[in-house]
Symmetry: C2
Subunit: 200 residues, 2 copies
Amino acid sequence: MSKGSLFIISGPSGTGKGTVCDELIRRGDVYLSVSSTTRDKRANEIDGVTYNFTDVEHFKQMIDDGSMLEWACYNGNYYGTPREAVEKMLYAEKNVILEIEPQGAFKVREKMPEAVLIFIIPPSIEILKSRLIGRGREDNEQIEKRLDAAKWEFLQAGRYNYIVENDDLQGCVAEVAGIMDNVVKMREKVRRLIDEAEQM
Amino acid sequence: MSKGSLFIISGPSGTGKGTVCDELIRRGDVYLSVSSTTRDKRANEIDGVTYNFTDVEHFKQMIDDGSMLEWACYNGNYYGTPREAVEKMLYAEKNVILEIEPQGAFKVREKMPEAVLIFIIPPSIEILKSRLIGRGREDNEQIEKRLDAAKWEFLQAGRYNYIVENDDLQGCVAEVAGIMDNVVKMREKVRRLIDEAEQM
């Protein structure tokens, strides 16, 4: 068991999982692993901070090498999580957080079976829908697509270690932080037991 | 998602996981699935209650059919969990508990990815050892073997959904019961969200 723990946060678009992750990172509970992408860097972005910007050839090479924990292609651009970066942080006793959708989450679990999967749900579909509308980024058709995708994602929730409701942000952040603290504490106890067993 | 949930309890010999399971069943929180075995029935045992007693040929047929969720062979006798019995209980909205070791637990998770894996740990190796000695069933060499096996099992704990310490029995039972209640409650919420999404 590595000293740090890997937490994966999923949940349909509009559940506020991004805000939950931002808050956990701001509090210093966990660290974000920097993803790689082949899309163009925007003016306000910093290579190695916002993303590791790379080209398609190098990205595909990393997929073939097994160096990507998970990856996906949206609108012709590749996005992925480099395995080495995550592992380095875990071995440095840092807890790492990844915000990815269920298929990616299960791929990561295959490669790193100690990953802790946390699924964030909204209080109701009505609220989910109104959050999506409130963001004002999408038209009705796109919102319908989001809700269809949400339904599929909900069907995956049973495979997660934990399901947490995001009713109010601070309550949800406190609950996820509590889960993380407990995982870290119990794994520390198990490591102590292994040490004791070795000294017998 | 089936209406009942499947809980798998593991933990090294001497952690008291059997007593924890017995207590959860006695309280009516969960139901035990009856295992199958090829060993001879003892005088005080009832076929279909203690075990489903069967012969080697039939047992092997069930393995080949994929009808065994997991199985193992100890001292020439086969023991296993028939998949159909577990699934029937889950669809009847019953929560099922299986007490099995890590390799079996991971096999079950492959077949039923919504299984909730709970690993029970002792407060210390000293206490684990004294519990094993206190049972008076084994000699020193067997106890050493148990402790070696425990070390291997501890290394698997990171793959479990939950790790719970068995310091005092009632506290541990309450904690596991609390986990079960929470899983059931959150899965019920997810089912409600799926229903809501379908009615949109």
